[in-house]
Amino acid sequence: MLKVMMKDLIMNRNALVANLFIMAAVLVFICSWEEGAPVGTYAFFSGIMMAFVPIMIVTREDKFKAMALGCSLPVTRETIVRSRYLLSTGFAVMGILLAFVLAALVPSSRLSATELFRPETFLRALSVTTILIALLLPFTLRFGALGLILVMAAFQVLGIVALTMVKLTRSSADKAFVDSIVQAVGNLYTRLGSVGFDLLLAALLAAVLLASYGLSVWIFRRREL
């Protein structure tokens, strides 16, 4: 599995470095925002950005049809999947930490280190990345770069459905129901801070990731190249 991770690192080295610089630039920009972007938003954006690493790896793999190379090597499909998950989450964790360090050290930053280096900020970012990874990986392992488009399309569809539902809820009872759901989800994030909840969230994220992993293994074992 380490061999597969090394292979992916070597093959994508330049792209990764380039990505790193771009991400750093964007992050510096965000944390230096005049309006003083709240820490939460910064965390949110960092989370999203870290999901770009697996996206980049997958797009390059697709472009060069390199999956055929990986699968021709003496390595099981499961190992390939495992290394992809590890690489993605590894980059996510490291990337988010680095993003926070960046925001804390960069002189133009308007975010305070004390606010940044709290478990809940970290979890906020990580939860975004984890959910994205959990969604993206199975799709891309099955469809390659096309999987990305499918996921984005799915999000669009969900968004449209949500908007439509909101528009359609005329009766106050329905409206109240939808409102309460939105409230509850919003509230979830405010619950961050209590150790109990933090641990629960972490466990939940791990579970989601594991489920996604299981699905990916099942999918990739059957993938025809």
């Binding site: 061999k3 090394m6 292979k7 070597i10 093959m11 994508n12 080295r13 330049n14 390059r60 060069f64 049809k65 390199a66 999956m67 055929a68 190379l69 699968c71 021709s72 090597l73 003496p74 390595v75 099981t76 059957r222 025809e224 190249l225």
Partner: protein
Amino acid sequence: MTDQALQVSGLRKTFKGFTLNDVSFSLPKGYVMGLVGPNGAGKTTIIKLIMNLIAPEAGEIKILGLDNRKQGVEARARIGFVYDVMPFYADVSLRDTKRAIAPFYPKWNDALFQELASSFDLPLEKKVKRLSQGMRTKFALALALSHDAELLVLDEPTTGLDPVFRRELLHGLSGLLQDEGKSVLFSTHITSDLERVADYVTFIRNGSILLTETREVLREVWGVVRGEEASVAILDSKLWRGFRRYPHGMDILTSDASAARRALGDGVVVERASFEDIVVLLDGGEVHHA
């Protein structure tokens, strides 16, 4: 211990518009087999099945005695592969590509790789995209040969190469196989490739194996009967393996040239069958009588 490098039995795989049907053949250790057929015949599909890139609906594949699906990792550690279009990252250097791939093979021999790289004149610092098709094939071959692979699987290795290069490559390949332990399966649609290096030849068309035979037998025992239809068509149908009608007469592919010669006498020409003759005339044993 098996003495077969590759055993393919009863493979079946259906795609839209094409079916690979009941494909079976074996390659004994230490020999070279050419898998020949027109484009779209199923050669690449067979190779993908061997490498477990796709799964068969029926049938099994044994590589050096190992099941290619259940013992895939062990099997692939002993296979060196070269594909028609090698799935390398074009913007990565040869050296880095090698660095990424080598650790997967327990028997990787870097000294040997360096030797091959220098005798092939490979510019290791350059990126893959800077290399011509021929050089890429040589690079892939160098990688495939550097981990003591017992089976080499080459999918159309000569495609896109000029005739001189092609000859060099095949002759070079033959030279590298002085070791009895190595076996080679290579697919091609260019029949002259077989003349240089194959010990066994398997003909495939439309997803079915038409024939597996040694180059020796095909050369010495088989033949082509050429003459006017009336003179040649009287040949015993048991000896027909294919035919073609032309304005000037008829060619019949026969699996026993001397018997044909005896039966038909001097009015017809009975010659050695070139691989091209075989590919053109072979029709899977269907016999048509005038």
